[in-house]
Symmetry: C2
Subunit: 387 residues, 2 copies
């Protein structure tokens, strides 16, 4: 028995130190101090400031007798120009540790600022795999949504405002030193973001599980994320119970540990150009694409489906065909039960743009680890089915 069908036989696995638990935002100061910080560059956004979480982090930094500078010039889908401004401010202030508090946007902005402050140049210079030369300042990243995974991942996604596209930066250096999750922060997450960020986590977990770079080390986290989402997503969306919300945090963390090491697939390869083109919500795009990409991938991942069916709550042993139906059906009904968007049209995508979007996806690094090799025609078919 091998138990490792279709998986990499030589691999690396790397995750930051993880701190998890309600109330743990009070530990940000001691984490930053432990990383050698004296003047902290705190990156967050207006929504989190208004909700009081930025204050809590500032209090924790002060209690650890650390100075800090606050930077909040960031947008959803963080922009190259804001990153450049952040890096200038970091250097001007003589900061030495970066704390990012927020969703993927705030955390990816923090990563971008870390890259430019240490390496100079423009963020475009670092697009692709392993282009970062000089070591980054230490980072503590604190997620406040249920989906991004940026707090553990070796990715940063920044919007190129001139080209209207997203730059994918992949490097072990952009994983932070410490990932600190305080599930209490989810209590003020606007309701519509629960579903969209959690479906982002769902697509991370499923794409990581199907990736040709998956390993037993990533699979266990992918399946756990899927189990937690299956068990808690609907309750979280409908009732926002603290336990269900906390388990979505946990799901996001597990999914992040998986995809950071196994990388992703077609959902994300397509979501990046769509997000860059329309400035649309990343989780919503993923939710729309996911069922179609699963349908496309299923024939080539049959060996791994029975474990996944178990993760999705199917308790009886089943053969490949049954498992395939269980997976497809469970994912679709989960998305439906939490009222996720179901068409690209509803997200403002224009039909005439689909061929260009398929072409742009061909250059996305996420395509490399897709279990089924797709050409422009395949990608266009997926987009049309999801339209």
């Amino acid at each position: 028995m091998t138990d490792c069908a279709n998986q990499l036989q030589r691999y690396k696995f790397e995750v930051p130190e993880i701190v998890f638990g309600r109330g743990m935002l009070s530990q940000v100061g001691s984490c930053a101090r432990r990383l050698g910080g004296r003047k902290i560059f705190l990156v967050s956004d207006q929504g989190l400031f208004n909700a009081g979480w930025v204050d809590q982090v500032m209090k924790s930094l002060l209690e650890a007798r650390l100075e800090f500078v606050y930077f909040d010039q960031i947008t959803i889908n963080p922009r190259d120009v804001d990153i450049e401004e952040g890096a200038r401010e970091y250097l001007r202030q003589g900061a030495d540790v970066i704390v990012g508090l927020g969703g993927g946007s705030a955390m990816d902005a923090a990563k971008g600022i870390a890259i430019l402050s240490a390496n100079g140049g423009r963020i475009q210079d670092f697009e692709g795999n392993d282009r970062i030369i000089r070591p980054l300042p230490p980072m503590v990243l604190c997620p406040t949504t249920c989906g991004t995974g940026s707090d553990v991942s070796q990715f940063a996604i920044i919007t190129d405002t001139k080209k209207r596209c997203k730059l994918t930066i992949m490097s072990r250096c952009v994983a932070p030193d410490i990932s600190l999750t305080d599930p209490d922060t989810l209590s003020t997450l606007p309701e519509e973001y629960i579903c969209t960020t959690a479906t982002d986590a769902l697509s991370h977990a499923l794409e990581a599980y199907f990736s040709i770079a998956s390993t037993t080390l990533t699979d266990v986290h992918a399946v756990k994320a899927i189990r937690l989402l299956k068990g808690n997503l609907v309750e979280a969306v409908r009732e926002q119970t603290p336990d269900a919300m906390e388990n979505l945090s946990r799901a996001s963390l597990h999914a992040g540990m998986a995809f950071s090491n196994s990388l992703l697939g077609i959902v994300h390869a397509l979501a990046h150009p769509i997000g860059g083109y329309y400035n649309a919500n990343h989780g919503s795009i993923n939710a729309v694409l996911l069922p179609e990409v699963i349908r496309y991938d299923l024939p080539v991942v049959t060996e791994k489906l029975s474990e996944l069916a178990w993760g999705l709550g199917h308790k009886e042993a089943c053969n490949d065909k049954e498992a395939s139906e269980v997976v497809q059906g469970e994912v679709e009904s989960l998305l439906e039960a939490c009222s996720a968007p179901r068409s690209l049209r509803s997200l403002g995508v224009k039909r005439e743009d689909l061929p260009e979007l398929a072409n742009r996806a061909l250059n996305d690094a996420c395509l490399i680890t897709s279990p089924r090799q797709a050409d422009a025609k395949d990608l266009l078919t997926i987009l049309e089915r999801a339209y």
Copy 2:
């Protein structure tokens, strides 16, 4: 739904960078160089030297243009006096990175040498939790058995030769920077060590899963280790097929990631004094104690048993009582199928020593995370049943 019964709600999780795969011993040099090494202190033993693996590591170090010093004055259950000699040699030679190649003994010796070379004093000064002050030299640890987990763990176990006991050192600093597993090295592992080291991994996984400090992050690795052992242990012991052996390496790694972060329980609390007293094989002691400790623990861990039953190959849904029987039965039949030792008597333990061994176990740090609190009388009962 919470899905996190009986688990820590605030926690940390930390693992080294992991490198895994056949032939990866050729990467030791580049790993050591990446950690800033110029003169490597290589710790291994005569058996691995004779098998040719030490040569392979030396070749890799030379290819990375690194000098090295070779140290092999270590025994099974590494001794305080050898650690002290190793640290003196490390300092005399002006080494700067430590590479440990071997089973738990070689790797724990490497950790002990790292502690003393950076902190001075005697190894006894560092017994217990977080007693290390100065940072250790960078370490790459390469396991060559199927069980210890020392290559990822925050533990080092050293024998105090005067007191005839084992010292348990717990500190995040003793986890190495890089854990590098090359499953090819198992091809020369003496046959009797396959079973004893793999049953060590089995006890790591089960104790980690039952630990009161377990979390979803540790559980996924514990269950995966158990699944891999269930699927491969007997084939590995009987036929030594490379695939089965490789999956035991993988099981050991998963189990190590689990117990390093959730800690252990009564099996290890008792195994440490027994090992120190009789210089007996650690895995054999664990194999004997495991069924009795499981029997003792089962009534208080019922909520977690159905997932464990699934991990042990039981595919149908089952209630608490059935799951409890499945777990007990599967573990016992697995140990029996691989001809693990079944009594303390057969390991040379003397019946009149049992009360003293139970008393010594009361002070072992592993007892703290046992799911069921045990006093000296409970421990003595377990020892008597396992006698």
